[in-house]
Amino acid sequence: MSALTPSQTLGPYFSIGMDWPEGNRLVVGETAGERIVISGRIIDGDSQGVPEAVIEIWQADADGVYHCGDDGGGFTGYGRCGADGDGRFVFETIKPGRVRGNRDTRQAPHVNVTVLARGLLRHLYTRLYFEDETAANAEDEILRLVPDDRRPTLVARQDGDAYVFNIKLQGEGETIFFNV
């Protein structure tokens, strides 16, 4: 008998309660690792930007270690960004290292992503991988569960000093979402 409380949509007015100043900046002065920018746009089935959305990320540090409960003002690995009026979001972070996988494997560098929005009764899970990690991506146990033709939806492409990761909620080019 489950005692779980159901998920409910974020609704349109979440910024009242979920607005964190600089929540999208994961790096602090001494954070080690390659500084990167992740930018993207969340769009709906008509390719219109989704303004009432929050993108959250959870990632390891440059050594592939997660900092659960590390709240001392350093790198927590967690970021939150409310989309702007055009559905755009941006994070300042570091490129994560390779995290241990199951069966003695290592996962490709990746950022875990949740998508919360008005219109979604339950948040979505996805992952961001990196275009310049071809070899690691090819052996990643999670990426290998994704049909070849849809894998590109999870791979951020390099554009100058930023990695671009767009999220298509529905229809052609729909992002892969995971049941976690």
Binding site: Q8, I16, E174, V180
Partner: protein, 235 residues
């Protein structure tokens, strides 16, 4: 050992494909989500506690100097546990809600109801060692929304919490007992399982109500709990 969070049973969380909720029409994915095994990425998660608390965040009736919020003052409390009844300790919960007239302090809310200069509608609490939280606020009003003709959102308070892992993230809404709009609300009704829906309705508690001050409502929250499993390469 690795923690594994069993899948949420069908119907206990809503499906995004729920046409009665019109905002889902262009936003719910068409493709089925791909089930993945849990790795370190899913069984770890951010942990926030007291360090995130803003001063006065546990009393939403007194967040503006020189006045108090209008409306029915209430105490909301409850316990956060996983579905095996283990308490979620020292965990941040974020809250937001409409004012007593059913209006949010947000530029996007154009409902013709008064703003209350003494009510912001944002709160935060941290659970104690037994998983309990408590805050003081006013009972939010119901409000109309454009989902369908004569649509009214039931009175509700938004809750956001993390749980111990990325897999346990939960954003939900607390409702009030006896609200006649609940069976008409597609957001509430989007959860197929009736007993699960009932867990989103708070319970009036006379014993926790404070005489001459505030009525109390209890809202317990159940998050996903984990089994301990050997790593596959240790099995």
């Amino acid at each position: 050992m690795i923690r594994v969070y069993p899948s949420v049973p069908d119907g206990v969380y809503p499906d995004n494909d729920y046409p009665a909720y019109r905002s889902s029409e262009k936003r719910a994915p068409f493709e089925a989500a791909i089930t993945i095994p849990h790795t370190a990425s899913e069984i770890t998660g951010p942990r926030f506690g007291r360090e995130k608390l803003r001063e006065g965040a546990q009393d939403l009736t007194r967040q503006v100097p020189d006045g108090t919020a209008q409306g029915q003052r209430i105490i909301v409390f409850g316990r956060v546990t996983d579905d095996r009844n283990r308490p979620e300790r020292g965990a941040l919960i974020e809250l937001w809600q409409a004012n007593a007239a059913g209006r949010y302090r947000h530029d996007g809310d154009t409902h013709d109801a008064p703003l209350d200069p003494y009510f912001i509608g944002t709160g935060q609490v941290v659970t104690n060692e037994e998983g309990y939280y408590e805050f003081t606020t006013i009972e939010p009003g119901a409000y109309p929304w454009p989902n369908h003709h004569n649509a009214w959102r039931p009175k509700h308070i938004h809750f956001s919490l993390f749980g111990p892992a990325w897999a346990t993230r939960l954003v939900t809404q607390m409702y009030f007992p006896g609200d006649p709009t609940l069976p008409l609300d597609p957001i509430f009704m989007g959860t197929a399982d009736e007993s699960a829906r009932k867990r989103m309705i708070s319970v009036f508690d006379i014993d926790r109500s404070v005489p001459d001050y505030a009525m109390a409502y209890r809202f317990d929250i159940g998050i996903r709990g984990a089994d301990e499993m050997p790593w596959e390469d240790e099995a």
